[in-house]
Symmetry: D2
Subunit: 304 residues, 4 copies
C-alpha cells in the first residue's frame, strides 16, 4: 500500500515518545491501561490497508461512538435533528453545563456529551433495541461481526456518570430529551465502551471518505450530503476544545475518544486511525495528534 | 469560464431574495447602504474570472481585513504569533469580553475583534507605517493599485468604537497588547474600511487557494503551510458564531464582514466572493451564505 | 398589640392590589392556587400576636424551609458546614448551574437550591429519620403539632425535579454531596411542601429575633451567634436575586418561597409573615414585599 | 469613651498579627506602603471619639470613596439613579466585565468599579467642578478642611487604569455613561486617592449612623431613608465578593478599600474605622476584618 512507508517511518519516530500525557483517570477500568501501547491503521477506498504496532489490541472507542450514533440518527431524521442540537463549536469543555444553561437546554453540537445524549435519546425513538442496533451499525461498517461492548468499562462508567446524569436531567428540565434518563445513560455508557482495534476503526469510517457509501459492500450508509456535513462537523467540533488546533495542525475531519483513539478521514482518499492511551489536558491522545500531523505533513495532503 | 453558467443561474435565482435581513446599523455610514445590491465573482488558478451583478460597486471589507493582517503577521512571526492569540472557535459573539476575562486576556482566535486587535498591535511592531503596509499588501494581492481606505466609514467607526476600545484596554491590563491603544484602534478602523468590489476581493484571496503563492505574479505571499493553516482557521472561525453552520452548509474556508461581503476559497481550485449587504442575526450576509451554499451544491465540490 | 393598627392599615391599602404578578407555574399543584389570598401575621417577643386576612389558610412554605434545615445543620455542625457551602450572594438565579461549575461544585450559599440540597444531604448524616426530624423541628418552633407535609405538592414537585436532580448529580460529581440522590431529592421536595399559615410561620421564626431562644418555651434552638449569622445570611441571600433590593427597600433579614410566603425578623423585637401567591419575575411575592416595605416605613424601624 | 477598653484590648491582641496578607500590588505607589501600620478609631453620636495606633498616618481611601460619591448622587437624583445602576450583590470580583456584558451594560451595584464609574459620570452632570465638590463633601462630613487628593497615587492609578477604561468604554457602548471617558477616569482615580486617617474617616461616616444627619453640625447630609438604604447597600455589597462573609462575621454595614481601610457603622450608635494595609485574596484588609469581628463580638451588638 502506498502509505506503508510513510506510516512505518512515523511509527518508528514516535514509538518511544511516551510519558508526556496521562491515561484517562476518571474510571478505574481506563486508568489501568498500559500507556505505551501504540498502533496505526490506514485504509484507502480501493480496499488497501496497512497497520502497524499493537494492532491486535482493542480499546474502547468512547466519544468516537458519537459519530456512529449521529450517522444513525441523521439517516432517519435528516435536518430535523438540528431542532434539538446545534452545529457550532462550543468553546468550552466537553462536559460543561454553562453554555447549556445560557442556551436554554440546546447543546452546541452532537460531539459534546450533552449533544451526544440528545442523539442517543433520538435513537430510542427510532429503534426498538437501540443497543443492538448500534452494535450492528458498527459491525456492518467495519465488516467485522466480532465487535462487542466492553461490559466492565460500561459498568465502571455507569457508576461514575453523575455529570452525564446531571446533563441529561438538566436537558429534560428544558424538554430537550424525552426518554427515561437511566436508559439514556445506560445506552450512552455502553456505546462508549465499544471495543475496536485501529484497523476495524479505520474501516468503519471509510464511508465518510466515500460520500456516504461503504466501499467494501457498496451499500449506502448515509446520503452524500450527510457524509459531507458530518465531515464538516468533525472538523469544527471533533476534538473537544482542541478542534481548532487539530484543524490547524492536521487539517482533516477527525474524532477522538478518551480511550486514546483518534480517527480521521481524507475525503475521496482514505481513513486513518491511531491509538495511544496517554492524553493531553484536552482529553485527546497526544501521540495520536502528533502521528496525524506528521502524516498530513509527509503526504502533503489535507483538506486545505 | 467553467463556472459562468452555474454562477449566473444562482445569481438569477437569488436576485429578488431581499428583505430577510438588515444592513449593519451600528454606524451611520453603513446603515445608509442600498440593501438590494448583489454581486458575485469567481477566480480560478488559471487566471479565469467571472463576475455578475453590481461588480463595479465597492463595499468596505470590514472583518475580512482580519485575514490580510493575519497573513502579514504570520509571515513575519510564524508560530510565535500564537503566544498572544489562540486558534480555537470562541463559541461567543465576535465582540464578547466574557471569554477574554475567563482566559486571562488571550483572545480565542484572530478573527474575533479582540484577536484582530492583537494582530494589529503586532503589525505596529513589524512595520514603520502599518496603515501604508496593509494597503500595499492588499493592492499587491489583487493586482489593483486603486484600493483605498474609505475615510468616511473609518471615521464613523472610530466614533463608535467604544467596545473595541474596551477590548483593547482590557487586553492591555493583561499585557496582551503593547502599543498605544488610540493608534491600534485607528489602524483597525481603517483596515476595516478598505473598499473593494467582489472581483478584487476574490483575486486577493487566490493565494490561499494556491498554497500561499499569488498565481498572477507567481510571488510567494506566505509559506505553503501558513496558507493551509489560515484556511483551517477560516473554516473553524471565519464566520463568527456561525462558523460551524457555514462549514456544514458550504464546506469551504471563508471569511465574512459586516459590510455584507463574504469570500471563500476551494484549495487547489478557486476563490469566490459575494456581496449582499443584508445581514442575518449573526452579522453575516444571509444572501451571501445562500449563494455559496448553492455554489458548492451545484458544482458538487467542497473540502469535504 | 402595638402593631395592630399599622398592619390593618397596610392590609386594607393592599387588599385590592392583585393582578400584577403570577402564581408559580412550574408544578400543577401550585398553579391552581387562588391568587387573591392574602394574610399578615406579626409576633413580638412578649407573646403578642396579630393576624389579619386569610389566616386560616395554609400554603406550602417552599424555600422558606431552607432556613429550618440550615438551623438544624448549623446546630450540629457549626462552622464545619461552611466547608461544603459558601456564604456569599450568588448574583444568579436560584437554580443556576453556571456558578456551581465555575466554583467547582461548592454552592454559593445555603439559600439557593444547590446549597439547600447540600444542607439536606448533611441532615441525612445527622438524623436517622430526617423527614420526621424536620417536621418535629418546625412543630417545636411554632408550638403547633398540627404541621404536616403536603403530599400532593411534594409528589408534584418530585415529578418535575429534573433541575434539582441535575444540581445534585453535578455536585456529586465534585463530591460535595455524599448520600443517595433520590433520597436527597425526596426529602428536599417534602421539606418544601410543609404547610403553614402566616401565624405559625411568624411564630416559628421568633427564635431568630430572640438570639436563638424560642421565647414561648424558653428553649435554646441555636446558639446566639448562630442566630445572628443566620439573620446576616437571610439579609444578604434570602430573596434569591432580589436580596439586595429587599435589603434596600425593607431592611430586614427575610426569606421567601415560591408558594407566596415571606417571613422577616426584626432582631430583639418581632417576626412578621405575609402570604400572597402572586410572584414577581424573581419568584418573590410582589404584594408580600410591598407589605413589608410599608411595615418598616410605617414603624420607622429596620436593622439600618 | 465607653469603647476605649474594648478597642485597646483588640488593638493589643492583633498588633503583632501581620504577614498573613499582602499590600496592594497593582500600582507602585501602593506597593511601597509599610504593611505593619495599624490604627482604629471609633466615634459615637454624642461626640465621643477614641483612636489608637498609627492614627496620625493617612492612607488613600480608594473604594471607600464610592460611598461619598453615592451619597452626593443620591441626594440629587433620588431613585432615578437606579435606572443606571443596580442594587444587587454581584457574585463576581470588583472589576469583572462578565456580568456587565450579560446584563447589557448596567452594573450590578454602585460599589463595584463599573457602578462607581456610573456614579462619577452622574456627578459630572450635577456639579460644575466635581473634583472640588467631592473634596468639599468629604471635608464637611469629617469637619476637617485639611483633606486632599494624593496626587502621586492618583497619577499612578491613572497610568494603570486600563481595566477601568475598558469598563467605561464598554458601558459607553451600551449608553450607560455619557461623559468624556478620560475625564470620568481622572475624577475616579482622584476620588480613590483621597487621604484620611482612621479618625477623620470614622467621623465622615457618622451621618450614616445618624439617619442622614451630621451629628457635629446637625446639618442633614442625605434623607433619612437614603441613609438607611446606603447602609443596606453597604451590608449586601460593601466588601466586594466577601460581603456575605463580612455580614456573617461582623454584622455591620461597611465599606473597604484596597488602601487597607475599612469603615463600618452601627445605626443609632457609632461609626468605626480600621486601617491595616495587608489585604486578603478578596482585596480586603484581613486585620481590618478581624478587628471588626472582635469588636461586634466583644460589645455584643450588631444589626442582627
Amino acid at each position: 500500500m502506498v502509505y506503508e512507508n510513510v506510516v512505518t517511518k512515523i511509527y518508528e519516530s514516535l514509538k518511544q515518545e511516551t510519558g508526556k500525557g496521562r491515561v484517562a483517570q476518571y474510571i478505574p477500568a481506563l486508568s489501568k491501561i498500559d500507556p505505551n501501547q501504540y498502533s496505526i491503521s490506514v485504509c484507502d477506498l480501493e480496499g488497501g490497508t496497512f497497520s502497524i504496532g499493537d494492532t491486535d489490541k482493542r480499546f474502547t472507542i468512547q466519544s468516537i461512538s458519537k459519530v456512529f450514533t449521529l450517522a444513525m440518527a441523521s439517516k432517519h431524521l435528516g435536518d430535523k435533528l438540528w431542532d434539538s442540537v446545534g452545529r457550532e463549536p462550543s468553546g468550552t469543555s466537553f462536559n460543561s453545563l454553562i453554555q447549556l444553561e445560557q442556551e436554554r437546554g440546546i447543546p452546541r453540537n452532537p460531539f459534546i456529551n450533552a449533544g451526544a445524549l440528545v442523539v442517543t435519546d433520538k435513537l430510542m425513538s427510532l429503534y426498538n433495541k437501540p443497543k443492538k442496533a448500534i452494535l450492528e451499525f458498527v459491525r456492518e461498517n467495519c465488516g467485522d461481526q466480532d465487535i462487542y461492548y466492553n461490559n466492565e468499562v460500561a459498568k465502571s462508567e455507569l457508576e461514575f456518570s453523575y455529570r452525564n446524569v446531571a446533563l441529561a436531567n438538566f436537558m429534560k428540565s428544558f424538554g430537550t430529551v424525552e426518554h427515561n434518563i437511566e436508559t439514556i445513560i445506560d445506552i450512552y455508557c455502553n456505546q462508549c465502551s465499544i471495543s475496536m482495534n485501529t484497523l476495524t476503526l479505520a474501516k468503519s469510517f471509510l464511508f465518510l471518505a466515500n460520500g456516504g457509501v461503504n466501499p467494501a459492500t457498496e451499500q449506502r450508509v448515509v446520503k452524500s450530503r450527510t457524509a459531507k456535513r458530518m465531515n464538516a462537523l468533525m472538523l469544527t467540533c471533533g476534538l473537544y476544545n482542541e478542534s481548532g488546533d487539530f484543524a490547524y495542525r492536521v487539517g482533516l475531519p477527525g474524532k477522538s475518544g478518551v480511550g486514546g483513539g483518534i480517527v480521521a478521514v481524507l475525503p475521496g482518499k482514505l481513513s486513518i486511525a491511531v491509538w495511544s492511551p496517554e492524553l493531553n489536558v484536552n482529553g485527546n491522545s497526544y501521540r495520536g495528534i502528533d502521528t496525524l500531523e506528521q502524516f498530513t505533513t509527509e503526504i502533503g495532503i489535507s483538506v486545505f
